[in-house]
């Protein structure tokens, strides 16, 4: 449930064009080969400052490789990328100063307290001495861990540790925060909390958020989604637009006389189909149309259901496969994931 207030505060969603502020991330024809496997192939996109941008795809699709290139941890085979205005190949250290990183695996020191972990980070990222304390207070506050600041990280739950890592990623006021599968292994409540943290940080600190996920429901928090499959971008747009591509809403009706209802609705020029247990009417904005459609049908209606396309369907539409692990095709996906990790 993305808070409406944060959504409203989000900056323009369209990619930056001339005259607008320079993009936070700009990627042109990026490719990365491991041996004869194309982990990332001819990928181009740009992310506006303050945008929440999600990279969505199954394991091994090229998400982690892309994020590693953007964080200057891996060199691309060809193509270019600029992050926070700096070239990832030419000025990697300038890039690293301006980005926050949250990895799939935990990277906290379990034997230090939350605050000690942050202090360490503050020094490595050269936060001026006189600002360290106030900045630590601030990020701990952002993730609601102020009470636990003096506790050893080894006493933290997985969710708390993850949120502490996000706080740490924000400590040095990065232009972009990168999160690689940040919600992997977290329970739904913790995932929701983490998203609140991220959206709050975007709203209050203006940070650009770039994350990868293979959870469809999560991608809906994003301003824009790029769908990546087998190293290629197959779609990129707002969640609403991506859904619109897949199809209109459908209003499903069960009526006392389906035959008569179909005739009346077709007579009104609507796209209507008979289904096994009723009729489906394809319209834009189905929820708003329900009352009118029932009126047009002109027969008693027993049951109404409005179906909106989900990102699962969007993914299926663009890739021909379901994104869930364990589904058809996931085995080859896993094999590719292993190949890419090891390389």
């Amino acid at each position: 449930m993305p808070p409406a207030a944060d959504r409203a505060r989000a900056p323009a969603l369209a990619p930056a064009t001339a005259g607008e502020p320079a993009p936070a991330i700009e990627v042109v024809d990026l490719s990365k080969r491991y041996g004869d496997v194309d982990a990332v192939s001819q990928v181009s996109f740009s992310v506006a400052p303050g945008e929440v941008f999600a990279f969505l795809g199954p394991n091994g699709a090229g998400k982690s490789t892309t994020i590693k290139i953007l964080c200057t941890l891996t060199r691309p085979t060809s193509g270019s990328a600029r992050v926070a205005g700096y070239d990832v190949l030419g000025q990697p250290r300038a890039v690293r100063r301006r980005i926050g990183l949250v990895f799939q695996e935990q990277t906290l020191d379990q034997q230090l307290t939350a605050e000690e972990n942050l202090r360490f980070h503050a020094v490595l990222y050269r936060i001026p001495r006189e600002l360290v304390a106030s900045r630590i207070d601030r990020v701990l506050d952002l993730v609601a861990l102020s009470e636990r600041r003096g506790d050893l990280v080894s006493t933290f739950s997985g969710g708390m540790a993850r949120r502490l890592e996000i706080a740490r990623g924000m400590l040095h006021t990065p232009t972009v925060i990168f999160l690689d599968e940040p919600t992997l292994g977290l329970d739904p409540q913790t995932r929701a909390l983490m998203w609140e943290d991220l959206l709050r940080m975007r709203a209050e600190e203006g940070v650009t958020v770039f994350l990868t996920t293979h959870y469809m429901d999560e991608a809906e928090y994003a301003d824009r989604i790029a769908i990546i499959d087998r190293g290629r971008l197959v779609a990129m747009d707002t969640p609403a637009n991506l859904k619109a591509v897949v199809g209109a809403d459908s209003v499903e009706l069960q009526t006392a006389d389906d035959e008569a209802a179909v005739g009346a609705l077709r007579g009104a020029g609507l796209d209507v189909r008979r289904t096994t247990d009723g009729i489906s009417i394809f319209v834009d904005d189905g929820e708003a149309q329900v009352a009118r459609l029932i009126g047009v049908a002109g027969v008693p209606v027993r049951k109404v259901h409005v179906h909106q396309p989900t990102l699962d369907e969007v993914f299926l539409h663009f890739t021909g496969r379901e994104i869930r692990e364990g589904g058809p095709g996931s085995r080859s996906g896993m094999v590719r994931a292993w190949g890419a990790r090891r390389a």
Partner: protein
């Protein structure tokens, strides 16, 4: 340089600054000390092992070796045990890099916009501080053994311990940077650390050895740290000539005694080489 319309001020500073690198070294050093102070088992085992060696070797072998002009094997082996305490502590401190890798924290350090040299120097300084501390506390056992120490002698011993600790920690950091798993580190250390210790003259005098053993002790870099340590301690003892001949502290190569300065210079060179290798080793990890 900030291109965003963000409300939070960016705290980014791209200038190269030796002060900031020093700050990083100090922070990495501090983390090592904090972690050490929180692992009681490590502190305890750091003392138990050398004391065990001192008692077993010292009291166990003394009757066998006998006493030369009032000087026994306990007194001979004592500086060797101090060195051993420094060496093992230094190596095991360096080993924490393998833990850092396993628990992910190494990544936090390696992706940070700091030089690898600062990380290695901080890590080395931390390990060396702990190791020197352990070795120095061992000196408290000197009266028990009958070894006489003065303030200048202790100061010199600490200096040599520090040099020894830095070079062994740097060596350990290099090994750890090339190793992925804890098990491998322990195997490597058993194949490297113990031979180095045993062939350094820590446990037996370096005179009158068969040629092959003499060669091995002379190519062992640790020899050039252990012997000066013993030399400094023995210089303060009231030792008759017979005892000095029985337990010599010099290193002879081709019939020539090496000056202590050259011995310590060799150790310093060893440290420098492994600092460079450690930086390069870490550079290839990420």
């Amino acid at each position: 340089m900030s291109t965003t319309s963000a409300p939070a001020p960016r705290l980014v500073d791209d200038r190269v600054s030796p002060g900031e690198e020093l700050r990083t070294i100090a922070m990495v050093w501090r983390r090592e000390l904090i972690r050490f102070s929180r692992t009681r088992t490590r502190i305890l085992s750091g003392f138990v092992q050398p004391i065990l060696f001192l008692f077993v070797l010292g009291w166990g072998l003394s009757p066998l070796v006998g006493t030369t002009a009032g000087f026994d094997f306990k007194k001979f082996v004592f500086p060797g045990i101090v060195a051993m305490s420094v060496v093992t502590t230094a190596i095991f401190s360096a080993m924490s890099i393998v833990w850092d890798r396993e628990f992910g924290f190494l990544r936090e350090m390696l992706v940070a916009p700091v030089s690898r040299l600062s990380l290695v120097l901080g890590k080395t300084a931390g390990g060396a501080t702990i190791a020197t501390g352990q070795g120095t506390i061992m000196l408290a056992l000197a009266p028990l053994i009958g070894v006489h120490l003065t303030v200048p002698v202790v100061a010199k011993v600490i200096g040599i311990e520090l040099l020894m600790a830095v070079s062994l920690t740097a060596f350990g950091v290099f090994v750890a940077s090339r190793i992925q798993r804890m098990e491998s580190f322990q195997v490597v250390m058993q194949l490297v650390l113990f031979p180095m210790l045993f062939l350094s003259g820590a446990m037996f005098p370096l005179n009158g050895l068969p040629t092959w053993l003499t060669v091995l002790t002379r190519v062992n870099p640790l020899t050039y740290a252990v012997q000066p340590l013993r030399q400094v301690v023995f210089a303060a003892q009231d030792m008759p000539l017979a005892a000095r001949l029985r337990f010599p502290t010099g290193i002879t190569i081709g019939g020539h005694d090496l000056p202590i300065g050259m011995e310590l210079g060799l150790v310093a060179a060893f440290a420098a080489v492994f600092l460079v290798l450690a930086v390069r080793g870490l550079g290839q990890t990420e």
